[in-house]
Assembly symmetry: C2
Homo-oligomer: 657 residues x 2
């Protein structure tokens, strides 16, 4: 039976699929979630996918379409003009050649694995918005006539001491009917003790805010109860800008090369946010009213490029020297001016950015971790699609941005994939036999050769583990080159004539082919880790620091990498392994803190300016440091007690052999 | 030949037109301006009109359509779906029965006679918006990177001492490209020393603002040069809300009885304003950019109902007791929030209103005339579709609103029409012969029986003149009743069996019928003038005033009425005739003053609250005063030297036969 390569975007999963299988079957085999309510019976029409231009042979859309069975009458019934061009039902299109398929957000069934759950924050509540109950006397003809607005303002001044309040236009527009509907009882939402942004009939207590972390790849929203500080609901999605470019630079390029590129990408992220808002407030919907309007405050963090595109600012100038951002300071923008469907009078608070490449997300990390309140020297590493570093203590903090590339996210790696079910996330290699054990996302146990696990690829933490283990097992040397003459079926020459290591045999996978780590993969990882290491070293030099007391790994990815593997590889300067810890999505934590407490906004504004940004690419030692950092440090004990370790982790070591 | 009644809206003109004439010919005969670039050759398609539902016989649209020749193929070529239903070309539709026709704004050729020209104002310039030139150093990689926004703000603080400025979101969005396009030279427009609302490349001087007076019937815009204070251009149009109701109360009713009534009317006035903005800035358009964006400030005055509808506030509550407005204080609303096409960062300043029925237009009159800076007791009468009164001096000023009805505007009068070409605007009657002379708008000379003048109706000032003259000539008595037994062909019984006076014989008119003043017309005028008079009297009583030093007639109408006729009729309490004067569109003057000088805005805010609003309808004496005011005061010399007067006015008195 013939097999063809099939790629699914934006998940980035691929595999060789038998001719005649449907795209839905292919997606299921590759772990791509496509909604199919009817179970593939061709009746629900939910599994719409877009056929992208040919991927492998640069064939155009037409020939791409020929790689699928012709469109059927049944499909045509479900496809509407607003779906756009080249739409097929995944359940109906059969594979007849290589295809690249894009799965629109609305057709995605499950969530990708978003490792951005919210941790408990220990922070006092002082939100920017507050609710006040008011109760007015019904006006009569014989009292001096006064407008409804003036009556509300007088009550607020007399009862709550809030003078000089202004009225948002949209709040004012509904005021008359609202007051009368509530029998002259109402609830007024005030922003920053300055402006009335919403008026609701009768007395209403709940007070909701939304903290948003817009990553290059993933967007997460945290719906918070501003009365308790608790996260009520979390929603996430793939950043809908992914089709315009996988990384920051390709999106900047897209904006520069397409006249409406910026507008399209801004529209995409705003629409995406509105989708999140709709879903996250589904339970708040009452009386047929849009649940989003219950949200009266919002904070957002993102990197500088996402920040600019979100605001509709031309990202061109942050993409080239001298890397000048449009705006650095925090902003408060009316939600309606951005087209965001929360309460129309509400503001969106944009956290400040530090410099051209160190964004509001890093400021989020900064206010969440507060290195400026510590005596110890902290190195905070936030690894997303880019790597950002913060180094210092209460005396001084420097920051920089490292061009790690997307290797840590599984991109540019032959079998790399995002952290999603089926991805190999942890690896151990026996230095004697060169055999390996691995763990796959979605499975509880470690894998041995006897089990069927349907591995589909390898994600960032798995790659770090694999390369560190390959070094410790003597498969690669400290320059990253494969050691010659190793006798193991797992070490072989790949189709490119270069050595590779087989992590999983074809029969253990669902993609029908061996999953390997190639020489090129090792190089890509070395480049990424060298960028981080050199960045940290140059910051230390600049600040005259000899050592680091603590390393904080921020970002979802940081929570999943193995600290020992990271130290083995030399991702960051030496530090006792028990002083390395992960804090999860600290950028999102910062966004939540700014939502819950206005003092944190002030702190963010001040500290964003106080932190010294260092453009390491222009440091004279940059190249030298970078080249040195490519090496893998020699560990004293390259393989500390493997068997005990595996046992601890519930790996059936005895079975081996 | 059969003749049919034809009515044109919104002009309100009507006449009997021969069967077979086209609507364009009918319009021309009745003095209604319809654009017909091709001269009626059926090729330009400019003369589109909408056939309204039947007017006389309550017939529906279908039967209304049967009162015209069938639609032709030629017409169908020009009519597009966006024109809406029931559209015909006036040049092609022939009259076969009674019809009511609406002439859309875009099909109107000429302007109606807008008596709202701007007078010179003597006022210092202190506009709310100012322009500042800035020149930044081009940023380099080696200086501390700073955002464009922060660089502009630092320059404004260092150079102009303007600290704590904020940036409007739309101004911020374009900043980066603007700075670079201008080679780091730019012009910044600042509102109220607080907010940057616009940034233009290079150095730009011109500074434009728009003052708008939204009347129930007419909308006027004055484009002002804020560097000189001069009016550069004036544009006016019929208020596009007229189709929803001719007067304030009918529009309030429309809003209450139609679910989308308020929204439709708000849309109509905003669209109308955008039309005015487009036309008034036609000469400012440069580089294909929308001229409207050159306008960086705007002030608006209107009555309370127009104010509410403009803002999208429910007007229901100002239409019924206790007449509570939604908001009284002045407002500054972003133009974009209202959908107004001036600079998107600009504010629209809404002048404050005084009370439920005394609107921002009256506040405009107040700050233009400044009675609060006078020792003399002033009575300011602003007659629009409603009548508003201000009475007092620097000690105290009271205001009220009088339900005059629309008689002063020519409505509810048998041959009444708006002030437009063909309207009889001045009348003199010889007390001996009862013969009359009149002047028609659009003709330079007074009419005598020997001339052809094509009179079409009688406008407000003509009605006042006619009734005053009828009284002075002894045709009606001081109760307003026709005196019995007068021997004159002009005094006769009308078709309703009640007496009437013939002002113009059919052959002098273009409507083919005698123009008369009926007993009912006299009554309507008495009611209107009694409302005004009683209002003034009750204010005087309330304030303990015995007399008035000056009477100021504000409003376009006030400029055209004959002061002696007004005194004869007793439109307002006695005052020496030379202390009665007209000031034109004082409401519009006030809007312009607020545009040119922020002190006037402060004055408006303070004085609007300081003026005491008196609800005269609830005064115990109201009914009694009103009944007394119905009478026409007895004049000592009812006919002072007519011949000299006529000679002075160039009327050929000798010819009279």
């Amino acid at each position: 039976m013939k097999r063809y390569k099939v790629i699914f975007q934006p998940a980035g999963r691929r595999g060789e699929i038998e001719e005649g299988k449907t795209l839905l079957e292919a997606a299921q085999a590759l772990g791509v979630d496509i909604e199919a309510v009817c179970g593939g019976k061709k009746v629900c029409g939910k599994c719409k996918v877009r056929i992208e231009e040919g991927y492998f042979e640069k064939d155009n859309i037409d020939s791409g379409m020929k790689h699928l069975s012709p469109i059927t009458e049944d499909e045509l019934k479900h496809i509407k003009p607003e779906d756009g061009p080249n739409i097929r039902l995944a359940c109906s299109a059969e594979i007849r050649g290589e295809v690249k398929v894009f799965v629109p957000e609305r057709s995605r069934a499950g969530k990708q694995v978003v490792r951005k759950a919210a941790r408990e924050l220990n922070i006092g509540l002082e939100p920017a918005v507050k609710k006040y109950n008011i109760e007015l006397k019904e006006p009569t003809l014989h009292e001096m006539t006064t407008g409804d607005v003036e009556r509300v303002l007088r009550f607020m001044a007399d009862t709550y001491g809030l003078r000089d309040l202004t009225f948002d236009y949209t709040a004012l527009r509904d005021l008359q009917d609202t007051l009368r509907r509530g029998g002259w009882k109402a609830t007024v939402t005030v922003w920053m003790d300055r402006e009335i942004i919403k008026v609701e009939p009768e007395f209403v207590d709940p007070l909701y805010g939304l903290a948003v972390d817009i990553g290059t790849t993933t967007v997460v929203g945290y719906l918070c109860d501003l009365n308790t500080g608790r996260v009520i609901n979390t929603e996430s999605m793939m950043n809908p800008q992914v089709p315009y470019g996988e990384d920051v630079m390709s999106r900047i390029t897209y904006a520069m090369t397409h006249p409406d590129g910026l507008e399209k990408m801004q529209r995409a992220i705003i629409d995406g946010l509105n989708e999140i808002i709709k879903n996250i407030t589904a339970d708040l919907r009452t009386n047929g009213r849009d649940g989003g309007s219950a949200i009266v405050d919002m904070t957002v963090v993102f990197n500088t490029a996402m920040h600019h595109i979100f605001l509709g600012l031309n990202p061109e100038y942050i993409g080239r020297s001298p890397f000048i951002p449009g705006v650095q300071d925090p902003l408060d923008i009316k939600a309606r001016d951005l087209g965001i469907h929360i309460a129309p009078g509400a503001y969106v608070h944009i956290l400040p950015i530090e410099a051209g490449f160190v964004g509001a997300d890093n400021v989020g990390v900064l206010i969440a971790e507060e290195p400026y309140n510590q005596d110890e020297i902290m190195l905070i590493i936030d690894i997303g699609t880019n790597g950002e570093l913060l180094l210092g203590n209460r005396q001084r903090i420097c920051s920089t941005s490292c061009a790690t590339g997307p290797a840590f996210e599984g991109a540019q790696i032959k079998f790399g994939m995002r952290a999603a079910p089926g991805a190999i996330e942890k690896v151990r290699i026996d230095p004697e036999t060169k055999e390996c054990y691995y763990k796959v996302i979605g499975k509880a146990d470690w894998h041995t050769h006897l089990q069927e696990v349907n591995a589909k690829g390898i994600c960032g933490s798995g790659i770090i583990d694999a390369v560190a283990e390959m070094f410790k097992a003597g498969i690669i040397d400290r320059t990253g080159k494969f050691v010659k003459g190793i006798e193991s079926p797992r070490v072989r020459l790949g189709s490119d004539g270069k050595p590779e290591y087989v992590l999983a045999w074809a029969e253990e996978t669902s993609i029908g082919t061996d999953i390997t780590i190639t020489q090129a993969d090792v190089r890509a990882l070395q480049l990424a880790k060298a960028a981080l290491y050199a960045g940290a070293k140059l910051l230390m030099k600049r600040m005259g620091l000899k050592g680091i007391d603590r390393v904080v790994l921020a970002g979802a990815f940081g929570s999943y990498i193995d600290r020992e593997s990271a130290l083995t590889l030399g991702m960051f300067p030496d530090c006792p392994v028990d002083r390395v810890y992960a804090v999860g999505n600290a950028a999102g934590d910062g966004a939540r803190m700014a939502l819950l407490n206005v003092d944190k906004r002030r702190e963010a504004r001040e500290r964003a300016r106080w932190v010294e940004f260092v453009e390491i690419a222009v440091e004279p030692d940059f190249e030298k440091e970078f080249m040195q950092a490519m090496h893998i440090p020699h560990m004293k004990d390259p393989f500390p007690n493997l068997k005990t370790l595996l046992k601890e982790r519930n790996v059936p070591v005895e079975v081996k052999g």
